[in-house]
Symmetry: D2
Amino acid sequence: MPFPSPLPEPVRFGLIGAGRIGAFHATTLARRLPEAALVVVADPAGGAAERLAAPLGAAATTDVDAVLADDRVEAVAVTSSSTAHADLVIRAAAAGKAVFCEKPMAMTLDEADAAIAACRRAGVPLQVGFNRRFAADFAAAKRIVDDGGVGTPQLLRSLTRDPGLADPGAVPPWTIFTQTLIHDFDTLNWFNAGAAAVEVNAMADALVAPGFRSAGLLDTAVVTIRFGNGALATAEASFSAAYGYDVRGEVFGSSGMVTVGTPAQPAVRHWSGAGVAGPTVRADTELFPDAYAAELAAFCLAVREGTPPLVGGDDARAALRIALACVASVERGAPVRIGEIDRPAEAAV
Amino acid sequence: MPFPSPLPEPVRFGLIGAGRIGAFHATTLARRLPEAALVVVADPAGGAAERLAAPLGAAATTDVDAVLADDRVEAVAVTSSSTAHADLVIRAAAAGKAVFCEKPMAMTLDEADAAIAACRRAGVPLQVGFNRRFAADFAAAKRIVDDGGVGTPQLLRSLTRDPGLADPGAVPPWTIFTQTLIHDFDTLNWFNAGAAAVEVNAMADALVAPGFRSAGLLDTAVVTIRFGNGALATAEASFSAAYGYDVRGEVFGSSGMVTVGTPAQPAVRHWSGAGVAGPTVRADTELFPDAYAAELAAFCLAVREGTPPLVGGDDARAALRIALACVASVERGAPVRIGEIDRPAEAAV
Amino acid sequence: MPFPSPLPEPVRFGLIGAGRIGAFHATTLARRLPEAALVVVADPAGGAAERLAAPLGAAATTDVDAVLADDRVEAVAVTSSSTAHADLVIRAAAAGKAVFCEKPMAMTLDEADAAIAACRRAGVPLQVGFNRRFAADFAAAKRIVDDGGVGTPQLLRSLTRDPGLADPGAVPPWTIFTQTLIHDFDTLNWFNAGAAAVEVNAMADALVAPGFRSAGLLDTAVVTIRFGNGALATAEASFSAAYGYDVRGEVFGSSGMVTVGTPAQPAVRHWSGAGVAGPTVRADTELFPDAYAAELAAFCLAVREGTPPLVGGDDARAALRIALACVASVERGAPVRIGEIDRPAEAAV
Amino acid sequence: MPFPSPLPEPVRFGLIGAGRIGAFHATTLARRLPEAALVVVADPAGGAAERLAAPLGAAATTDVDAVLADDRVEAVAVTSSSTAHADLVIRAAAAGKAVFCEKPMAMTLDEADAAIAACRRAGVPLQVGFNRRFAADFAAAKRIVDDGGVGTPQLLRSLTRDPGLADPGAVPPWTIFTQTLIHDFDTLNWFNAGAAAVEVNAMADALVAPGFRSAGLLDTAVVTIRFGNGALATAEASFSAAYGYDVRGEVFGSSGMVTVGTPAQPAVRHWSGAGVAGPTVRADTELFPDAYAAELAAFCLAVREGTPPLVGGDDARAALRIALACVASVERGAPVRIGEIDRPAEAAV
């Protein structure tokens, strides 16, 4: 079932960034996906690449350029810190490598445009790590929407609640929009395909760690988006859900609704004098292991078949626009027309 | 279990307004509640009161004053058209009757203040028809919140989706806020007890019946509310849910979450080649029959025991404030500080 | 919605047996059902009838014959101890009263035949208290089955688990079959309409209160039934479910399955560090209040309209046959052909 | 998370039997599990091994002895037709190979004893393919039971419904017990740990394909089991569930219940005018992919660490005893004492 026969030659990866999600992707590439092989891991932090690569049978380096210059490497997985993403995409493309980039692909629209242009110029595929598109339940929801099961979307919702906020002081400003809710913005764009966001209002606060509010922390946010087709959407995030990791979506339209996602898993319930109880999902890697594998498998297929990735630079740019509009909305305390984001100079007038 | 023993003398009701919900309440009062008796029904429309009252064994009149002057009537149920509510509350109070008023109790804050003052002056109990407070599932959710089960509320959600929009041209302006979402505003106030709304942003449109947009119809709305304790809430409504009647809530806080409500009922599932399927609730009177009975039973108890109703004029005023702020927000296309609503003259500057 | 207009004259009831379920039915008849009125309550135990009847505005007596001779009484509700049911049905029928009899209608097939014959002879309607047929979820399941949603039934399941066993020493022998599982036998007969049970195997034990095993207590049982159409069914009961009251059903057939019932209610969930939790139903009167009212309303309708009750003496007899076959199966430690139950003399050979 | 670091040398497998489940396991071993490597596939059918092995990078042979003689092979996966299992286990053990054997491990108790003895003699680990023990939801249920969450088990249920019966004529006699329900018997033994089955009653029929009844087909079965600790269990199977693949369990005890499994997946629901609907699981490889991988990963760990497999020959024998008792029960039309199965000569008297 899962594998074509005969299997094509595995895509040979270099991975840049040996942090938490980099380690997870590296292990998937090296161990779980027959479509992929892990050649080398790069990380500037001393020893980080080595500790990750060695048990996976891959080489390690602190030099990104060594990865880009490595002829064995066909594809680069960018899993570094977010601010370095766009630059690495551009350099990997220039080196002729196919690029899988974790979200967010860029921190500004200029960066995003440059990354997209670089990949287009180099003729390399570019895929962005919006994992929900590859989760079985979200994909099933998308099929229902595409098959007309909800009619014209009118009200949408997407939410992300992370299980905890370990180090509030280490969270860069606006992270809740550019790193967390960017997932939800992509989900909403995907579910409401063909329509673009036209207006955004964001409210956010430091409710989890109020002591860090003055330092710029926003750990709780609610965003309202008006789309060009009239649909109204909410996106919601918190950095600290006591019950675990919670990602859900809802698309309500003229002829129905689809709801997707639940933090309640697996399919077991305990009934006692206290009522009924069940376990919840505690981490993204617990909720989305198959989605993480599937997005990399799809990328490998795109590389081998020469087909366009299912979620690329334009999608990343569209989600980023909404995130940047949220930033502006919070700064102004008012709704923001999304068009202003594309013309920051005019907007500043 | 359900009835005290011996049962007190039933509270004798006059009901004003023989429309859909009036008919439902009249039947409950006359037939289902041992705590209540229905004496008389009034409706100005020719024959409406008579058609409702006769099979219920009650008298009928087209004259409201006859009801208020009727010595047998201890309590008045106000189920007329919304714009008449406040005036009828005031007149019923002046006549010394206990008052159960369907939501919304008033259309302006001045009206609300006058209604509250009238009842206070007359020393009569005033209860408002926020039925969700009496639904078993919402009441269970409230207990969890009150028992600290979610910690400090941070993100709340309440939604109402009606099953259909029969006559878009007959919907008065702003109905989605003053008549539909007012339920959700009360629910949010109730769940986030002790905190008041401080800022509101509303987006709304005519997506169900776009042909009536120019006539002022708003049939789809999303509201974001910031509360004084920092909590952020969304309220959402649509006038046309293909799958029926949908009322749900969610309270997320520092130590947990409570979710409440589902349009899926009853507890039956059909498994076939098409997958799994189940029925949905199609009307408010199908979802909330027990809540409608319970709110009237509670009112009867308040009348007999002399205790304050569980949901009164101040609650109606607090929900109305949010609804009026929504109106202002839509008009301005911007968030509205709730304080402005209390000082319309200043706000207009 | 729920009431015809104009409402017919209420059916006037005499109720015999002021125990737990008798008190519940009396209250429903007196207070909740516009279709019914409660005239008199009879119970031989000193004061029991009086304590129940007085607050309900009904008369009380210790003399059953006084009820049967009362001209105001149109219908008799038999809620006495089970062993007296059949005799009371026969006497009520002889007095020309319509009869609503709690399950079990009889303890032997001879009794059942006599009760059925008596009602037929007197031309009075006879309805038996199989409440699940009137529960919204079970009724929805039945409609799915009748509409062909599962095809030909092949595997069925019905279970009843009571919330506790207060006084094991007071449980008459075989109660688990003749009083508890008789509900499930009727449910299975109903879902598998048109087919009769042909073979039964029962295993039972005293697992809740093993100290009473030697006294004949059976508090846990599993029954397998083979029906004439080949379908195989299981029925299962326990007298002590820690989590409350649990009644569920399942019909699996050639083209699908229907599942019905859950002890998880109402529609609220609490999500916390411990996972997800919700409340459960704790008593039959909590799970089935609407079913209890609906069965009496349906009976009133049958009385007024002269239509046959939806569940009558033949249904009670069919369920009893299975219960008696279970008794024989446990005694023999072997499966029992259901035909033997009809011919006890032959079976004993 | 999923992999120890550094990863041990992969366990090198020879796989015998290139049928459906053999192909699935081969792919898992070769492609999905870093703990395993696939060296060679054997299948007597011309070309079957080659077709499976080639794209997986493994060797192929029609000669089982070549696998057993291959020094590179550390472990043998027995996925041949069921009747050959025990013999292959014995030969693999004699060759000093660790053995993973699909269920059923044996068709008779003598075979089972010989297989167990052979592995013990050779000092090689033996694991049997009872996949549910490695499914996340069943494992969570087991932990609840082991932690005392249900108290003493009193009523258990396990069911298996396969999605379809492609070729009724090709089903060997008693398959429903020895191949399908044997999963459920193991599940029941596992959940009710420490107690052994003492009495079994089985009812079975050809309801899916009645035309094959005379040829000995049994495609629908219900089994009741009495355990030594008094617990009563039902096991239920069908070869044709229109809605897909259905594996569920239930353990009810003195202080609670655990329910596990659902054919409804993934977490998506479609709400429309028809009500609510969702997808169902259609195959074992769709429901249990992670369990299939986990059981092989656990076996690899047992091989590398020298620890006893979590589910071994004794477990297979215990489940087989129940299956054989079911055969006897159907043949006799009566319950069977499980002890008779161990002494077939006496039982035949």
